[in-house]
Amino acid sequence: MSRTITLQIDGMHCTNCAMTLEGIEDRLPGILRAEASYRHARLVVEFDESKVDEARIEKEVERLGYKVSAINR
Protein backbone atom coordinates (compact mmCIF):
# COMPACT_ATOMS: atom_id res chain seq x y z
CA MET A 1 0.00 0.00 0.00
CA SER A 2 1.49 3.34 -0.97
CA ARG A 3 0.91 6.57 0.88
CA THR A 4 1.97 10.18 0.27
CA ILE A 5 2.89 12.69 2.95
CA THR A 6 4.13 16.26 2.80
CA LEU A 7 6.75 17.32 5.29
CA GLN A 8 7.42 20.98 6.08
CA ILE A 9 11.19 21.30 6.38
CA ASP A 10 13.21 23.84 8.36
CA GLY A 11 16.83 24.48 7.50
CA MET A 12 16.95 24.38 3.69
CA HIS A 13 19.09 27.21 2.43
CA CYS A 14 19.46 26.53 -1.29
CA THR A 15 18.57 24.23 -4.20
CA ASN A 16 21.25 21.72 -3.24
CA CYS A 17 19.42 21.10 0.02
CA ALA A 18 16.39 20.05 -2.01
CA MET A 19 18.58 17.64 -3.97
CA THR A 20 20.10 16.25 -0.79
CA LEU A 21 16.65 15.56 0.67
CA GLU A 22 15.49 13.86 -2.53
CA GLY A 23 18.41 11.48 -2.01
CA ILE A 24 16.29 9.55 0.50
CA GLU A 25 14.73 7.93 -2.57
CA ASP A 26 17.98 6.04 -3.02
CA ARG A 27 18.89 5.61 0.64
CA LEU A 28 15.71 4.31 2.24
CA PRO A 29 14.08 1.13 0.96
CA GLY A 30 10.37 1.58 0.39
CA ILE A 31 10.54 5.19 -0.81
CA LEU A 32 8.80 5.34 -4.19
CA ARG A 33 9.19 9.06 -4.86
CA ALA A 34 10.69 12.04 -3.06
CA GLU A 35 10.28 15.56 -4.36
CA ALA A 36 11.62 18.55 -2.44
CA SER A 37 11.07 22.24 -3.00
CA TYR A 38 13.45 24.79 -1.53
CA ARG A 39 11.01 27.53 -2.47
CA HIS A 40 8.15 26.04 -0.50
CA ALA A 41 10.35 24.47 2.16
CA ARG A 42 8.70 21.08 1.80
CA LEU A 43 9.35 17.46 0.93
CA VAL A 44 6.68 15.28 -0.63
CA VAL A 45 7.27 11.57 -0.08
CA GLU A 46 5.40 8.63 -1.59
CA PHE A 47 6.29 5.41 0.20
CA ASP A 48 5.37 1.74 0.57
CA GLU A 49 3.84 1.41 4.04
CA SER A 50 4.92 -2.20 4.35
CA LYS A 51 8.61 -1.30 4.01
CA VAL A 52 9.01 2.08 5.73
CA ASP A 53 7.05 4.36 8.06
CA GLU A 54 6.74 8.08 8.80
CA ALA A 55 8.97 7.93 11.85
CA ARG A 56 11.82 6.38 9.84
CA ILE A 57 11.48 9.03 7.14
CA GLU A 58 11.49 11.81 9.70
CA LYS A 59 14.57 10.32 11.35
CA GLU A 60 16.40 10.21 8.00
CA VAL A 61 15.53 13.84 7.26
CA GLU A 62 16.96 14.81 10.66
CA ARG A 63 20.06 12.71 10.07
CA LEU A 64 20.68 14.79 6.93
CA GLY A 65 20.66 17.92 9.07
CA TYR A 66 17.13 19.28 8.60
CA LYS A 67 14.15 19.61 10.91
CA VAL A 68 10.59 18.49 10.20
CA SER A 69 8.24 21.20 11.46
CA ALA A 70 4.95 19.65 10.28
CA ILE A 71 3.58 16.63 8.44
CA ASN A 72 0.49 16.82 6.22
CA ARG A 73 -1.09 13.49 5.53
Partner: protein, 362 residues
Protein backbone atom coordinates in the same frame (compact mmCIF):
# COMPACT_ATOMS: atom_id res chain seq x y z
CA UNK B 1 37.76 45.95 -17.98
CA UNK B 2 36.51 47.34 -14.68
CA UNK B 3 33.51 45.04 -14.79
CA UNK B 4 35.62 41.97 -15.51
CA UNK B 5 37.82 42.75 -12.55
CA UNK B 6 34.76 43.17 -10.35
CA UNK B 7 33.44 39.83 -11.60
CA UNK B 8 36.74 38.10 -10.80
CA UNK B 9 36.93 39.58 -7.31
CA UNK B 10 33.30 38.69 -6.65
CA UNK B 11 34.03 35.12 -7.64
CA UNK B 12 37.15 35.02 -5.50
CA UNK B 13 35.55 36.43 -2.38
CA UNK B 14 32.05 35.07 -2.45
CA UNK B 15 31.33 32.82 -5.38
CA UNK B 16 33.64 30.01 -4.35
CA UNK B 17 31.85 29.08 -1.16
CA UNK B 18 28.42 29.96 -2.47
CA UNK B 19 28.98 27.65 -5.43
CA UNK B 20 30.36 24.96 -3.18
CA UNK B 21 27.20 25.03 -1.10
CA UNK B 22 25.02 24.38 -4.12
CA UNK B 23 27.25 22.30 -6.38
CA UNK B 24 29.62 20.70 -3.90
CA UNK B 25 27.20 17.92 -3.05
CA UNK B 26 27.25 16.76 -6.64
CA UNK B 27 31.02 16.72 -6.79
CA UNK B 28 31.27 15.00 -3.43
CA UNK B 29 28.95 12.19 -4.55
CA UNK B 30 31.10 11.33 -7.53
CA UNK B 31 34.33 11.54 -5.54
CA UNK B 32 33.01 9.47 -2.62
CA UNK B 33 32.06 6.77 -5.07
CA UNK B 34 35.58 6.76 -6.42
CA UNK B 35 37.12 6.44 -2.97
CA UNK B 36 34.75 3.60 -2.11
CA UNK B 37 35.73 1.80 -5.30
CA UNK B 38 39.43 2.24 -4.49
CA UNK B 39 38.87 0.80 -1.02
CA UNK B 40 36.98 -2.22 -2.36
CA UNK B 41 39.69 -2.97 -4.90
CA UNK B 42 42.52 -2.78 -2.38
CA UNK B 43 40.90 -4.71 0.45
CA UNK B 44 41.00 -8.34 -0.66
CA UNK B 45 41.62 -10.03 2.67
CA UNK B 46 40.33 -7.90 5.55
CA UNK B 47 43.30 -7.06 7.74
CA UNK B 48 43.42 -4.04 10.07
CA UNK B 49 46.61 -2.64 8.61
CA UNK B 50 45.46 -2.88 5.02
CA UNK B 51 42.03 -1.37 5.73
CA UNK B 52 43.65 1.56 7.57
CA UNK B 53 45.99 2.19 4.68
CA UNK B 54 43.25 1.92 2.07
CA UNK B 55 40.92 4.22 3.96
CA UNK B 56 43.45 7.06 4.19
CA UNK B 57 42.02 9.74 1.93
CA UNK B 58 43.87 9.49 -1.37
CA UNK B 59 44.51 13.23 -1.59
CA UNK B 60 46.75 13.13 -4.62
CA UNK B 61 44.09 11.21 -6.51
CA UNK B 62 41.41 13.77 -5.61
CA UNK B 63 43.16 16.76 -7.21
CA UNK B 64 42.67 15.60 -10.79
CA UNK B 65 38.91 14.98 -10.63
CA UNK B 66 38.30 18.27 -8.79
CA UNK B 67 40.43 20.15 -11.33
CA UNK B 68 38.59 18.41 -14.18
CA UNK B 69 35.23 19.35 -12.63
CA UNK B 70 36.30 23.00 -12.32
CA UNK B 71 37.74 23.15 -15.85
CA UNK B 72 34.50 21.78 -17.30
CA UNK B 73 32.49 24.25 -15.22
CA UNK B 74 34.65 27.14 -16.47
CA UNK B 75 34.10 26.18 -20.10
CA UNK B 76 30.36 25.65 -19.62
CA UNK B 77 29.79 28.99 -17.89
CA UNK B 78 31.92 30.91 -20.38
CA UNK B 79 29.82 29.47 -23.21
CA UNK B 80 26.65 30.35 -21.33
CA UNK B 81 27.98 33.89 -20.85
CA UNK B 82 28.63 34.07 -24.61
CA UNK B 83 25.08 32.95 -25.33
CA UNK B 84 23.52 35.39 -22.87
CA UNK B 85 25.64 38.29 -24.13
CA UNK B 86 24.60 37.44 -27.68
CA UNK B 87 20.94 37.35 -26.61
CA UNK B 88 21.38 40.73 -24.96
CA UNK B 89 22.84 42.09 -28.19
CA UNK B 90 20.08 40.65 -30.37
CA UNK B 91 17.54 42.64 -28.44
CA UNK B 92 18.69 46.19 -29.34
CA UNK B 93 17.83 48.18 -26.27
CA UNK B 94 17.60 51.92 -25.89
CA UNK B 95 19.50 53.49 -22.98
CA UNK B 96 16.28 53.71 -20.96
CA UNK B 97 15.52 50.04 -21.62
CA UNK B 98 19.06 49.10 -20.63
CA UNK B 99 18.69 51.18 -17.49
CA UNK B 100 15.47 49.31 -16.74
CA UNK B 101 17.20 45.97 -17.29
CA UNK B 102 20.07 47.00 -15.03
CA UNK B 103 17.65 48.03 -12.28
CA UNK B 104 15.81 44.72 -12.69
CA UNK B 105 19.13 42.85 -12.40
CA UNK B 106 19.93 44.82 -9.26
CA UNK B 107 16.55 43.94 -7.77
CA UNK B 108 17.17 40.27 -8.61
CA UNK B 109 20.53 40.43 -6.83
CA UNK B 110 18.92 42.20 -3.89
CA UNK B 111 16.24 39.52 -3.66
CA UNK B 112 18.90 36.81 -3.64
CA UNK B 113 20.89 38.58 -0.94
CA UNK B 114 17.81 38.90 1.26
CA UNK B 115 17.02 35.23 0.58
CA UNK B 116 20.47 34.21 1.75
CA UNK B 117 20.09 36.31 4.88
CA UNK B 118 16.75 34.58 5.54
CA UNK B 119 14.96 37.89 5.91
CA UNK B 120 11.60 36.47 4.83
CA UNK B 121 10.41 33.26 3.11
CA UNK B 122 9.04 35.26 0.17
CA UNK B 123 12.60 35.92 -1.02
CA UNK B 124 12.98 32.20 -1.77
CA UNK B 125 11.14 32.90 -5.01
CA UNK B 126 14.32 34.59 -6.24
CA UNK B 127 16.05 31.21 -6.36
CA UNK B 128 16.14 29.33 -9.64
CA UNK B 129 15.03 25.75 -9.08
CA UNK B 130 15.58 23.29 -11.93
CA UNK B 131 12.67 20.87 -12.47
CA UNK B 132 12.49 17.68 -10.41
CA UNK B 133 13.41 15.33 -13.27
CA UNK B 134 16.67 17.19 -13.92
CA UNK B 135 17.53 17.11 -10.23
CA UNK B 136 16.87 13.34 -10.14
CA UNK B 137 19.01 12.70 -13.24
CA UNK B 138 21.89 14.74 -11.82
CA UNK B 139 21.73 12.95 -8.49
CA UNK B 140 21.58 9.47 -10.00
CA UNK B 141 24.37 10.19 -12.45
CA UNK B 142 26.65 11.45 -9.69
CA UNK B 143 26.00 8.35 -7.64
CA UNK B 144 26.32 5.68 -10.27
CA UNK B 145 29.53 6.52 -12.06
CA UNK B 146 32.72 4.58 -11.44
CA UNK B 147 35.04 6.10 -14.04
CA UNK B 148 37.59 8.53 -12.62
CA UNK B 149 37.37 11.63 -14.81
CA UNK B 150 34.26 11.28 -16.96
CA UNK B 151 31.86 11.91 -14.07
CA UNK B 152 33.51 15.05 -12.68
CA UNK B 153 33.86 16.51 -16.19
CA UNK B 154 30.25 15.78 -17.10
CA UNK B 155 29.02 17.07 -13.76
CA UNK B 156 31.14 20.19 -14.17
CA UNK B 157 29.30 20.92 -17.41
CA UNK B 158 25.95 20.22 -15.78
CA UNK B 159 26.51 22.79 -13.03
CA UNK B 160 25.07 25.36 -15.43
CA UNK B 161 21.72 23.86 -14.49
CA UNK B 162 22.19 24.57 -10.79
CA UNK B 163 23.79 28.02 -10.56
CA UNK B 164 24.20 29.32 -7.05
CA UNK B 165 22.72 32.68 -6.00
CA UNK B 166 25.79 34.77 -6.84
CA UNK B 167 26.22 33.01 -10.19
CA UNK B 168 22.61 33.74 -11.09
CA UNK B 169 23.27 37.42 -10.52
CA UNK B 170 26.39 37.24 -12.70
CA UNK B 171 24.45 35.51 -15.47
CA UNK B 172 21.92 38.32 -15.38
CA UNK B 173 24.78 40.81 -15.65
CA UNK B 174 26.17 38.86 -18.64
CA UNK B 175 22.81 39.29 -20.34
CA UNK B 176 23.04 42.98 -19.58
CA UNK B 177 26.41 43.36 -21.34
CA UNK B 178 24.65 43.02 -24.68
CA UNK B 179 27.83 41.58 -26.16
CA UNK B 180 28.78 37.93 -26.69
CA UNK B 181 32.45 38.60 -25.88
CA UNK B 182 31.51 40.79 -22.93
CA UNK B 183 29.20 38.13 -21.52
CA UNK B 184 31.77 35.38 -22.06
CA UNK B 185 34.57 37.45 -20.49
CA UNK B 186 32.44 38.31 -17.46
CA UNK B 187 31.47 34.67 -16.80
CA UNK B 188 35.00 33.45 -17.46
CA UNK B 189 36.42 35.95 -14.93
CA UNK B 190 33.78 35.16 -12.33
CA UNK B 191 33.97 31.37 -12.65
CA UNK B 192 37.77 31.51 -12.61
CA UNK B 193 37.53 33.56 -9.43
CA UNK B 194 35.36 30.91 -7.78
CA UNK B 195 37.78 28.09 -8.59
CA UNK B 196 40.58 28.50 -5.99
CA UNK B 197 38.27 28.53 -2.97
CA UNK B 198 36.11 25.75 -4.40
CA UNK B 199 39.20 23.64 -5.06
CA UNK B 200 40.73 24.28 -1.66
CA UNK B 201 37.61 23.45 0.33
CA UNK B 202 36.67 20.43 -1.80
CA UNK B 203 40.24 19.10 -1.64
CA UNK B 204 40.60 19.30 2.09
CA UNK B 205 36.96 18.40 2.70
CA UNK B 206 37.15 18.86 6.42
CA UNK B 207 34.41 19.83 8.88
CA UNK B 208 36.16 23.20 8.97
CA UNK B 209 34.69 23.70 5.52
CA UNK B 210 31.17 23.24 6.87
CA UNK B 211 31.63 25.68 9.73
CA UNK B 212 33.26 28.18 7.40
CA UNK B 213 30.38 27.78 4.99
CA UNK B 214 27.79 28.76 7.58
CA UNK B 215 29.53 32.04 8.50
CA UNK B 216 30.61 32.75 4.97
CA UNK B 217 27.03 32.51 3.76
CA UNK B 218 26.28 35.73 5.63
CA UNK B 219 29.40 37.42 4.28
CA UNK B 220 28.45 36.37 0.75
CA UNK B 221 24.92 37.74 1.23
CA UNK B 222 26.19 41.11 2.43
CA UNK B 223 28.61 41.49 -0.47
CA UNK B 224 25.78 40.58 -2.85
CA UNK B 225 23.59 43.18 -1.13
CA UNK B 226 26.21 45.88 -1.70
CA UNK B 227 26.62 44.84 -5.34
CA UNK B 228 22.84 44.95 -5.74
CA UNK B 229 22.60 48.49 -4.40
CA UNK B 230 25.44 49.56 -6.71
CA UNK B 231 23.79 47.93 -9.73
CA UNK B 232 20.41 49.55 -9.04
CA UNK B 233 22.05 52.90 -8.44
CA UNK B 234 24.06 52.86 -11.68
CA UNK B 235 20.89 51.82 -13.50
CA UNK B 236 19.20 54.91 -12.06
CA UNK B 237 22.17 57.01 -13.22
CA UNK B 238 21.98 55.46 -16.68
CA UNK B 239 18.34 56.48 -16.90
CA UNK B 240 19.58 60.05 -16.47
CA UNK B 241 18.11 60.58 -13.04
CA UNK B 242 19.97 63.03 -10.78
CA UNK B 243 19.01 60.84 -7.81
CA UNK B 244 21.90 58.46 -8.33
CA UNK B 245 24.36 58.05 -5.45
CA UNK B 246 27.16 57.14 -7.86
CA UNK B 247 26.73 60.35 -9.79
CA UNK B 248 26.76 62.45 -6.60
CA UNK B 249 29.81 60.57 -5.36
CA UNK B 250 31.72 61.19 -8.60
CA UNK B 251 30.84 64.88 -8.60
CA UNK B 252 31.81 65.23 -4.95
CA UNK B 253 35.29 63.82 -5.48
CA UNK B 254 36.08 65.16 -8.94
CA UNK B 255 38.46 68.08 -9.28
CA UNK B 256 36.50 71.37 -9.30
CA UNK B 257 37.94 72.39 -12.68
CA UNK B 258 36.93 69.06 -14.07
CA UNK B 259 33.35 69.39 -12.91
CA UNK B 260 32.49 72.86 -14.11
CA UNK B 261 33.97 74.30 -17.25
CA UNK B 262 36.03 77.49 -16.72
CA UNK B 263 34.10 80.57 -17.90
CA UNK B 264 34.78 81.78 -21.40
CA UNK B 265 36.98 78.89 -22.47
CA UNK B 266 36.49 75.57 -24.26
CA UNK B 267 34.62 73.19 -24.21
CA UNK B 268 32.16 75.63 -25.80
CA UNK B 269 33.36 77.40 -28.89
CA UNK B 270 31.78 78.63 -32.07
CA UNK B 271 33.88 76.67 -34.53
CA UNK B 272 33.46 77.42 -38.26
CA UNK B 273 30.13 79.09 -37.50
CA UNK B 274 28.90 75.92 -35.78
CA UNK B 275 28.26 75.66 -32.09
CA UNK B 276 30.59 73.04 -30.72
CA UNK B 277 31.06 71.78 -27.18
CA UNK B 278 33.95 69.49 -26.32
CA UNK B 279 34.13 66.79 -23.69
CA UNK B 280 37.36 64.98 -22.84
CA UNK B 281 36.66 61.31 -22.24
CA UNK B 282 38.95 59.84 -19.58
CA UNK B 283 39.11 56.32 -18.16
CA UNK B 284 37.08 57.14 -15.06
CA UNK B 285 35.33 60.40 -15.87
CA UNK B 286 34.17 62.90 -18.42
CA UNK B 287 35.65 66.40 -18.30
CA UNK B 288 33.99 68.68 -17.63
CA UNK B 289 31.15 67.00 -15.75
CA UNK B 290 28.79 69.92 -16.31
CA UNK B 291 28.83 71.31 -19.85
CA UNK B 292 27.08 74.54 -20.81
CA UNK B 293 25.86 74.86 -24.39
CA UNK B 294 23.76 77.33 -26.37
CA UNK B 295 20.00 76.86 -26.44
CA UNK B 296 17.74 77.17 -29.47
CA UNK B 297 20.41 76.20 -32.03
CA UNK B 298 21.88 72.90 -33.29
CA UNK B 299 24.92 71.91 -31.24
CA UNK B 300 27.80 69.63 -32.14
CA UNK B 301 29.08 67.57 -29.22
CA UNK B 302 32.74 66.69 -29.76
CA UNK B 303 34.04 63.72 -27.75
CA UNK B 304 37.80 63.42 -27.53
CA UNK B 305 39.53 60.22 -26.44
CA UNK B 306 43.22 59.55 -25.90
CA UNK B 307 44.20 55.97 -25.07
CA UNK B 308 40.94 55.31 -23.21
CA UNK B 309 40.41 51.66 -22.32
CA UNK B 310 37.45 51.71 -19.96
CA UNK B 311 33.69 51.53 -20.38
CA UNK B 312 33.60 55.35 -20.53
CA UNK B 313 34.09 54.79 -24.27
CA UNK B 314 30.52 53.49 -24.41
CA UNK B 315 28.93 56.94 -24.41
CA UNK B 316 25.21 57.34 -23.84
CA UNK B 317 22.71 60.22 -23.86
CA UNK B 318 19.43 58.57 -22.79
CA UNK B 319 17.18 61.54 -23.62
CA UNK B 320 18.34 61.50 -27.26
CA UNK B 321 18.63 57.72 -27.55
CA UNK B 322 22.33 58.15 -28.32
CA UNK B 323 24.57 55.10 -27.80
CA UNK B 324 28.01 55.36 -29.28
CA UNK B 325 31.16 53.33 -28.89
CA UNK B 326 34.13 55.70 -29.15
CA UNK B 327 37.53 54.91 -30.59
CA UNK B 328 40.34 54.26 -28.12
CA UNK B 329 42.03 57.41 -29.43
CA UNK B 330 40.23 59.87 -31.62
CA UNK B 331 37.30 62.22 -31.95
CA UNK B 332 33.62 61.64 -32.47
CA UNK B 333 30.91 64.20 -33.14
CA UNK B 334 27.30 63.89 -32.04
CA UNK B 335 24.71 66.20 -33.55
CA UNK B 336 22.28 67.57 -30.97
CA UNK B 337 19.10 69.23 -32.26
CA UNK B 338 18.11 72.65 -30.84
CA UNK B 339 17.07 72.49 -27.20
CA UNK B 340 14.87 74.83 -25.21
CA UNK B 341 16.63 77.20 -22.85
CA UNK B 342 17.10 75.61 -19.44
CA UNK B 343 17.06 72.02 -20.72
CA UNK B 344 19.34 69.68 -18.78
CA UNK B 345 20.44 66.44 -20.40
CA UNK B 346 22.34 63.69 -18.62
CA UNK B 347 25.10 61.74 -20.33
CA UNK B 348 27.02 58.73 -19.02
CA UNK B 349 28.88 55.55 -19.82
CA UNK B 350 26.67 52.64 -20.85
CA UNK B 351 26.61 51.23 -17.33
CA UNK B 352 25.82 54.52 -15.62
CA UNK B 353 29.05 54.51 -13.62
CA UNK B 354 30.50 57.80 -14.84
CA UNK B 355 28.58 60.71 -16.20
CA UNK B 356 27.67 64.37 -16.32
CA UNK B 357 25.10 66.86 -17.52
CA UNK B 358 24.64 69.05 -20.58
CA UNK B 359 22.97 72.33 -19.66
CA UNK B 360 21.51 74.38 -22.51
CA UNK B 361 21.59 77.86 -21.03
CA UNK B 362 23.92 79.95 -23.15
Amino acid sequence: MVNILIAFVTGLTTGGLSCLAVQGGLLASSLTNQIENDVQQQVYKPSRKRIRRAQRPARAGMARPIAAFLAAKLIAYTLLGLLLGWLGQMVQLSPYARAGLQIAIGIFMLGNALRMLNVHPIFRYFAIEPPAFIRRRLRRFAKDREVSLAAPVFLGFLTVLIPCGVTQAMLAAALGTGSPLGGAALMFAFTLGTSPVFFAVAYFATTLGQRLERNFNRFVAIVLLLLAVYTIDTGVALAGSPMSLTRSFNEMFARPAAVEQPAGSPPYAAVDGENTVTIRVLNTSYEPGVVHAPAGVPVKLRLVTEDVVSCSRAFVIPALGVQQLLERTGEAVIEIPPQEAGTQMAFSCSMGMFGGTLVFDL
